[in-house]
């Protein structure tokens, strides 16, 4: 079945990824992440000075600022900030930088569905770029259950979301060894490797769905997230390679 955006052929296909790191000069780290027509840019400053009011004696304070593409920041952006903060806080080894602040700014650049997932992936790339010590790396994928066909569609566009019965956002860490799972392998032996969901960092579902549907979504997103993990890994290694060559030259 062809998807509504006409570029994809399978319901489990993701849109093309794009990422670019270290694109801003003033921030300590920055990254852009795209899922097809959705694009989020993220900047990281820190560990740096923090307001005394926000200072924590045993760890770094993590502040997230989310800014919408159109209009003033509202409830939606506050939710986004909260979701990202609560997912990233246990991931960042903030105990290494007590009494400092790490500020992460998330700016939507293009909106075509899955903004939360795009923001998660942009944030982790920006944190990597800033050299903030992390416990593990996350990857996020969104899926919907189509109300007309009851099919799980991964990485939906805005148009597809309008027909959604329920929407599920998942974030997985890379504790399940990423080197053993190639994005190509995942596509080939889909059922042989039963994923363990010990690595779910965040899950947010809205709408009506059954328990079975939820686990089905989690499984589909987990497999897709391995592709995102692989992409993040390549992006970072390519960037480091380039930097290494530049320092040698």
């Amino acid at each position: 079945m062809s998807r509504l955006d006409r570029t994809r052929t399978s319901p489990h296909q993701l849109r093309p990824f794009f990422s670019s790191q270290n694109l801003l000069n003033r921030a300590d780290g920055s990254a852009q992440f795209d899922f097809g027509g959705s694009s989020v840019i993220c900047s990281v400053v820190g560990p740096a000075e923090v307001k005394i009011r926000d200072e924590k004696l045993d760890r770094a304070t993590i502040e997230i600022v989310a800014r919408p593409l159109v209009g003033l920041p509202g409830v939606k952006d506050k939710t986004l900030e909260r979701n990202i903060r609560e997912t990233l806080e246990p991931l960042i080894l903030s105990g290494l930088h007590p009494r400092t602040g790490i500020q992460i700014v998330v700016q939507t650049m293009k909106e075509d569905g899955c903004i939360l997932s795009t923001a998660f992936n942009a944030a982790i790339l920006a944190l990597l770029d800033a050299g903030i010590p992390l416990k593990s790396i996350l990857a996020s994928v969104t899926c919907i259950i189509d109300s007309r066909t009851n099919q799980i569609l991964l990485d939906p566009t805005i148009e597809e979301t309008t027909h959604a019965k329920s929407t599920h956002v998942f974030v997985f860490d890379n504790k399940v060894s990423i080197s053993s799972i190639n994005p190509e392998d995942v596509a080939m032996d889909e059922d042989s490797k039963e994923p363990s969901h010990t690595g779910i960092l965040f899950s947010d579902s809205t709408g009506l769905f059954t328990e079975d549907e939820f686990f089905e979504c989690a499984n589909a997103c987990f497999k897709a997230a391995q592709a995102v993990h692989g992409f993040i890994r390549t992006a970072v290694s390519k960037k480091l390679e380039k930097e290494y060559q530049q320092t040698r030259a």
Binding site: R26, A27, G37, A48, E49, L69, G71, M109
Partner: protein, 281 residues
């Protein structure tokens, strides 16, 4: 987070270089940094890079009820909040002086110069008008935010297309982008801001200052002009006093710069229009 002042060494090096007729990034005094314009996939999304300064403008529209005293006037709004992404010195929810100045200047340059025909935004007098909103996002701050924001805003407005409407009696139909070709906004002229920074008691004038130059400057001035050599706004908020003929000299430089920038905007818009036509076929 407070911003660090430039060190004495940086300051003295910059001033010594300027005395020798050189700028630290290798430009001449009257050179603009490289300007890059890129368009998003939807109408009205423009990213402007002026050297290392990066600004994103997004134009959007909605239908609202006009003010009762101006029943045929549409709205044009700008949102120019400086986000901490551009520089950690900007805090969320607290306006800095710089932010007030930037937003006032953009407002004066674009709205008060009547660049956009707001009467043309009327759908049904006293009932429905278009409200055009320009969100300007500052992504990276390396000086001269005003010029970059101004270029982004006007290019966004020129690139933007609003949905077509038909009015039959009292019935108003707004056609989606698929049903009918969207229509461009009617723009009277293209105002462009050119900023100057002064050093050495006004003896040294430079165009398009970087962030370091802005921190060390003694005074500044922004002239807003269009290609027809009409002055739309002129702002000199504080700083050292200027000679009258220096202002004339600055505006002469600005005329040349405005012509260059306008030509570049037009070329970028034409290239984008061509690309869209090809992809539609």
């Amino acid at each position: 987070m407070k911003e660090a002042e430039p060190s004495t060494n940086e300051r003295e090096f910059l001033l010594a270089a300027l005395k020798d007729g050189a700028r630290i990034d290798g430009r001449n005094f009257y050179d603009f940094r490289t300007l890059r314009l890129s368009f998003g996939s939807d109408y009205g999304a423009v990213e402007v890079q002026l050297g290392n300064t990066r600004v994103l403008a997004k134009v959007s529209c909605e239908v609202i009820k006009p003010y009762p005293d101006k029943p045929t006037e549409g709205f044009l709004m700008f949102s120019t909040e400086l986000s901490p992404m551009a520089s950690s010195a900007f805090e969320v929810g607290r306006q800095t002086d710089e932010e007030v100045l930037v937003s006032r200047l953009i407002e004066k340059a674009m709205r008060r110069s009547r660049a956009l025909d707001t009467e043309g935004l009327c759908i049904v007098a006293g009932e429905k008008v278009w409200s055009i909103r320009v969100d300007i996002h500052f992504l990276d701050h390396d000086g001269n935010l005003v010029d970059a924001a101004c270029i982004a805003a006007i290019t966004g407005l020129l690139h933007f297309r609003r949905p077509d409407v038909t009015v039959v009696g009292e019935e108003v139909t707004i056609h989606t982008l698929e049903q009918r070709n969207p229509v461009p906004l009617s723009i009277h002229h293209i105002p462009i801001c050119i900023s100057f920074a002064f050093f050495d008691k006004g003896g040294c004038v430079i165009v398009d200052p970087t962030h370091l130059e802005e921190q060390i400057k003694e005074g500044d001035m922004t002239i807003t002009l269009n290609v027809h050599k009409e002055v739309c706004a002129l702002s000199k908020a504080g700083g050292i006093p200027m000679e009258l003929d220096q202002i004339i000299q600055c505006s002469n430089i600005a005329v040349v710069k405005v012509a260059e920038i306008t030509a570049q905007i037009q070329a970028a818009l034409d290239a984008d229009a061509k690309k869209r036509q090809v992809s539609r076929k």
